[in-house]
Subunit: 107 residues, 2 copies
DNA sequence: CGGCAATATATGTTTATCCGTCTATATATC
DNA sequence: GATATATAGACGGATAAACATATATTGCCG
């Protein structure tokens, strides 16, 4: 049962990796070189993190000449939103049932 | 810069721990014993995970006699929602700026 | 063609973190 | 004294992050 949530949480749990993703969200498409310049880690490491982000569907790559441009793929956050609202939903429905119960007890 | 996001993502990244939280969301308040019975791991491990969840603000505990009841604390998911919408917001604003630019170029 | 630039990928290694076990033990509470 | 939970220790194993380095690939350019 290793679902999408699992990979998402795991992928975003690493600070270096999440920082890369955040930068792509803030600043839009960036080349590996540009990302490496401010990532504080070596280029191979950046490439590896980008590969993982891509595997999780969080980024897309676009080749242009000898450069690769990466950009955030926001749709990939949907499972995260779903999960969150599902959790909130469970809570809410339990709350509703409680309210319901109290209402019936009141009568 | 180890913010709330960091702890949240890290805490929810572990499947066992996330499963505990999900169960508390779905089924409401549970004792450690009840959680242990279906967690597939030993009681000390369950207690440790609960302690981490509590540290992240994701659960609350309530002592009743010799039992401890845990319940999900949904407010703790707020930073997660904030982060997500922030990322979406960055994306959106970049999109807006692009639209703006195109509009001006059109004139 | 030759060579440099940008990136991906593979290696070997080190280090660190984390999860789990089992086994206490401390602390309440019943 | 038995029960429920928390906490701690020693331990093993898995995972993962980082380094450094090397190399393969591809594209650009002279």
């Amino acid at each position: 049962m290793a679902e999408a949530h699992d990979m998402l949480f795991r992928t975003l749990a690493d600070p270096t990796r999440r920082a890369l993703f955040e930068r792509l969200c803030r600043e839009g498409e960036k080349t590996v070189g540009a990302l490496t310049a401010q990532a504080g880690v070596s280029q191979p490491v950046v490439s590896k993190h980008l590969a993982l982000l891509k595997q999780a569907g969080l980024v897309r790559d676009r080749h242009e000449g000898r450069q690769t441009h990466y950009s955030a793929q926001l749709d990939a956050l949907a499972p995260l939103v779903d999960w969150t609202s599902q959790m909130a939903g469970f809570w809410q429905s339990r709350f509703d049932r409680l309210e319901d119960l109290l209402k019936r007890m009141d009568q």
